[in-house]
Amino acid sequence: MSEWPLYEVFVRGKRGLNHVHVGSLHAADDAMALHNARDVYTRRNEGVSIWVVRADAIAASSPDEKDPLFAPAGDKVYRHPTFYSIPDDVPHM
């Protein structure tokens, strides 16, 4: 028998926070995946909302190309607040 598909599980810990990846599980369908995710990953009120998504539906960057893929961010230090020097006596900055 072929295996049930793999699902990745994301949980929102509380209102105001992003969903965060917590792990994975196998299920026959979406409804079972949600049900199992509740039992496996939120036995102690760890979440207020769960997303499940089939692992084969996720497009991911490959680790080998991480340098070229993230290179555009590397030389743009002016995107960070620390790039700008402001005198210490200027308040609330």
Partner: protein, 312 residues
Amino acid sequence: MTTTVPEDVLLQQFDAVIARNDRIEPRDWMPEGYRKTLVRQVAQHAHSEIIGMQPEGNWLTRAPSLRRKAILLAKVQDEAGHGLYLYSATETLGVSRGELTEMLIEGRQKYSSIFNYPTLSFADVGTIGWLVDGAAICNQVPLCRTSYGPYGRAMIRICKEESFHQRQGYELLMTMMRGTDEQRAMVQESVDRFWWPALMMFGPPDADSPNTAQSMAWGIKRNTNDDLRQRFVDMTVPQAEALGVTLPDPELRWNEERGAHDFGQPDWDEFMQVVQGNGPCNRQRIAHRRRAHEDGAWVRDAATAFAARGTS
């Protein structure tokens, strides 16, 4: 686009990640030996959680109160969850869940020797929580920093849950120690039976553990077996005193000079026997797991058929 990076360059990159104490993630290149060692260790760990449900599950229907039954049920359910976290981590290394289950029930992969000992009295539920989960915590806390990301993350989730396991066990034993002489004797008898097998949980002495050095170099293991065993003994002795039980080791005493306890060695021949499948419950544990798997086949098939209709 695929470019072929030569293996020595990949190995250099891998070594650099390990050297700066960073984590390896599933899609990174890794040496075959690293992958194999991890599959063996994490799968063995996952199987231990799953088989570990049996000795305590044995007492679920006979727990002496609704409170104890609810606690034990929650604990056994946690162990199922631990097994799932760890199976998921193993699967990121390219082994399927089905293969893992097969390897367990065919005896091609192992699980912790401790779960091949029987639970003869309800006090064993307390002793297992105190000593067996206690030893597991000692093993698992450093593994939160293991070099393989998914394994470390599974360990962090597990460690958060283990403290409940140990405390419920200790509290159970404290309650029995406040009871009758017979109850106190039950606790002592249980501790006598589990002490040495608990010490065996850390694996053979360092001198007989040839893989430890490589595992530590790879950052998979963070401490040697003997280090962890020593730490466990030092933590447990004052807990035993507070409980009012003795530990069955005539050589156990505080060593002022070392700032640690001296203690005797478990029977390593017995350990080897249990690892090789000849412990008191090995056959029963695997037979039970196989039966549960085979009896559940129709449920898995039915769920697959239902999902295929697309009406869920």
